[in-house]
């Protein structure tokens, strides 16, 4: 299990080599011996290869901003787990239960972003708005307002897009 990171625009990977008597890490090609002295409220103090460093550290999402020796670094850790939004997205939307179309919000050929509205449907006295799950282009809308549909009915089809695996 290697942790990938990017600092100063350069990519690297980190690995834990050992933990006793001190933590030993590998960063890229070089190995380091680390011991943590203190931490708290954004401050840290640690020693790397026998040299003591004192500084500040702030975590913002996937990035950690570090200030040490009067210099600021930004270390970014790309996510390993994705929401899976792009992979294997469906090219069509079918009704999960019977109902009636209240409104159509998109047009064929329209390019949509994730979250853009497609249709408003009513089933079992409950209105629901169907939105695009990811960026896509509408190929065709197969229903019109006031149309009644069965479970499994084809409602919207999208242009097929080749997606890269994340």
């Amino acid at each position: 299990m290697n942790l990938h990171f990017e600092v100063d625009g350069r990519e690297g990977e980190a690995e834990i080599i050992g933990r006793r008597p001190q933590l030993q890490l590998r960063l890229g090609e070089s190995r380091h011996v680390v011991s943590l002295a203190q931490e708290g409220a954004g401050r840290f103090e640690l020693s790397v290869d026998g040299v003591r460093y004192r500084g500040w550290r702030y975590v913002a999402g996937d990035a950690v901003h570090v200030r040490v020796n009067g210099r600021t670094y930004c270390v970014v850790f790309p996510r390993r787990i994705h929401k899976g939004e792009n992979a294997g997205a469906q090219d069509e939307i079918r009704a999960s239960m019977p109902g009636v179309v209240i409104a159509v919000h998109a047009r064929p050929g329209e390019r949509l972003a994730a979250g853009d509205k497609l249709l408003t449907l009513e089933s079992m006295k409950l209105q629901v708005t169907v939105v695009a799950s990811h960026a896509s282009t509408v190929r065709e809308i197969h229903v019109t307002p006031e149309a009644v549909f069965e479970r499994g009915a084809l409602l919207v089809s999208f242009e097929h897009e080749q997606r890269d695996t994340p």
Binding site: M1, N2, E15, I16, I17, G18, R19, Q24, R80, I81, H82, G84, A87, G88, T165, P166
Partner: protein, 535 residues
């Protein structure tokens, strides 16, 4: 507790001869393990790569916490079966650390006949899950198997401890509250589909992962339906429609990342016993073990020299040192955990059997796990000993050992012959884990003894029939017996049949036992109590 002092003289010819012999055995072990783990036809490796799959050992290394030990079990299972078609019995099992938790890992090996299960594969998986049950170890399954080897189905399907036992064990684990995670990297077909289904959590890789009770060929044969593996039981079907699988993963790396995150949410085990003191490396050099172990199965060696090269600081508190001297008993520490050690320094007599039984009782009273170091050719035989009750005394030792509620570990250091195997916690006695050294041999009796006994019996038969003994025929009988014994008593045969949980290089013993003991302490001790001792 004083450190043991060594009486070994490393300069002698005997030491050097033994050293060369055992070092060569260790080298042979490593070479055979290396081949079993990695040697595959290039075509099988290419096929995996073309499917975008990682090798099972790559998956394993990514799963485990970096910089942590992995105790692989039964690497050489099936090495003497199926004409070598199933290296490592087509699967990997072992105990490691994932997200800070000790787990049992079971990984199918799709580089061997698509990961198909041979009878010994099933036995190895059942054994891994038995270990998980007995030690309350969570399990991570890395699934990628074509299903059972149809040609050998009668040996892997119908009986009580065959394939069904895998799924029975999974259900029992779940009932016990011991968690299981399955990462579906490839096909889980027929029974194999139950592995992820019976796991508490599972992750499936899109495109390559599939779960189905019947694969496409079976479905076509049964109903004529033509359907691809992905449509029949792939990621999207099972994560969106059927709900059989919990987490979709875009690729194997993501699946492993999700799996590690799931494990990180499992509660940490509460150990039955904790280390009493800080760990301390042995003072005596484990490398000397090569020179201490004999190069002849009939020869013996001083067990205290072995103990001193395994335990913390080489410190050993010997119990009842003046009595029953052919069995060494005492307390020591392994990475800070207290253990009670029983080690053979010769055959078992009345007094050593009694002492062993008593020491086992003391360890049970003191909640101390037991470690048996076997080198036993048997109990003493003869009229004098029978009259003194050696059978009763051996029975008492077996009773005490069997009824122990503390965890037991066994190491076959050299010979394990006959009834001595029983009292010293052989395979049948539910030790949590059992390992052998490469020089180990096991049989109901020694090969020469067996050859001699059979020849003696044959001779008597001929005499009763009034025929005369043909020396050549007798010699051939002796030779054939010896040859069969040689093959079937070796550690490699034993490990092939899964009579042990793996062969260890002697210098790896301390780490292996430490991982094993730590795993064992995840389960509380049993209910104390003994059967009837025949006094």
């Amino acid at each position: 507790m004083r450190a043991l002092e060594s009486a070994v003289r490393t300069g002698t010819a005997e030491f050097r001869r033994r050293y060369a012999y055992n070092k060569a055995l260790a080298a042979e072990l490593r070479a055979r393990q290396e081949a079993a783990r990695h040697s595959r036809p290039p075509r099988d490796l290419e096929r995996l790569a073309s499917q975008g799959k990682l090798l099972p050992r790559q998956r394993l290394e990514l799963l485990l916490d970096p910089g942590t030990p992995f105790l692989e079990l039964s690497t050489l299972a099936a090495n003497m079966s199926y004409a070598g078609e199933s290296p490592s019995a087509s699967c990997i099992t072992g105990i490691g650390v994932v997200s800070g938790r000790e787990v049992m890992v079971h990984a199918d090996d799709p580089t061997v006949k698509g990961g198909a299960w041979y009878p010994l594969t099933v036995k190895k998986i059942v054994r891994a899950l038995d270990i998980a049950i007995e030690n309350r170890l969570p399990v991570v399954h890395l699934c990628d198997s074509a299903g059972g080897q149809l040609m050998l189905q009668s040996q892997l399907f119908p009986d009580r401890y065959m394939a069904g036992r895998i799924f029975r064990n999974q259900s029992v684990l779940s009932k016990m509250g011991v968690k299981q995670l399955a990462l579906v990297f490839g096909h889980c077909t027929a029974g194999g589909a139950y592995v992820p289904a019976l796991s508490d959590y599972n992750v499936i890789v899109r495109g390559t992962g599939a779960v189905f009770l019947g694969g496409p060929p079976l479905v076509k044969a049964a109903t004529g339906e033509v359907v691809s593996a992905d449509d029949l039981g792939g990621c999207d079907l099972h994560t969106r429609t059927s709900g059989t699988c919990d987490y979709p993963a875009a690729d194997e790396l993501e699946a492993i990342a999700i799996g590690r995150e799931i494990v990180s949410l499992w509660e940490r085990a509460v150990k039955w016993r904790l280390p009493e003191q800080a760990a301390e490396a042995p003072l005596l050099d484990p490398d000397d073990l090569y020179g201490i172990l004999p190069d002849d199965i009939k020869q013996t060696f001083e067990m205290r020299e072995v103990i001193g090269r395994i335990v913390d600081g080489s410190r050993f508190h010997e119990y009842k040192p003046a009595y029953g001297t052919t069995l060494v008993c005492g307390y020591a520490h392994l990475f800070g955990y207290r253990v009670g050690i029983l080690a053979n320094n010769g055959i078992l007599f009345n007094d050593s059997a009694i002492k062993g039984g008593h020491f086992i009782e003391l360890c049970n009273q003191n909640n101390t796990p037991l470690l048996f170091l076997q080198n036993i050719t048997g109990y003493m035989v003869g009229r004098e000993y029978e009259a003194a009750g050696i059978t009763k005394d051996g029975a008492k030792m077996i009773m005490a050992q069997t009824c122990s509620h503390v965890p037991k570990l066994t190491l076959m250091c050299h010979g394990s012959f006959g009834a001595g195997n029983y009292g010293m916690c052989g395979r049948a006695f539910d030790g949590r884990l059992l390992f052998s050294w490469p020089n180990h041999q096991i049989a109901v009796m020694g090969g020469e003894q067996a050859a001699g006994t059979l020849a003696e019996v044959k001779l008597r038969q001929l005499k009763r029939a009034g025929a005369s003994a043909d020396p050549a025929a007798l010699a051939q009988l002796r030779a054939e017996t010896l040859k069969a014994y040689e093959e079937q008593t070796s550690a490699y045969y034993s490990t092939s049949e899964l009579w042990d949980d793996g062969i260890l290089d002697p210098v790896d013993t301390r780490n292996a036992l430490a991982v094993a003991l730590s795993a064992a302490l995840n389960a509380p001790g049993g209910i104390p109590g003994n059967g009837v001792f025949r006094f």
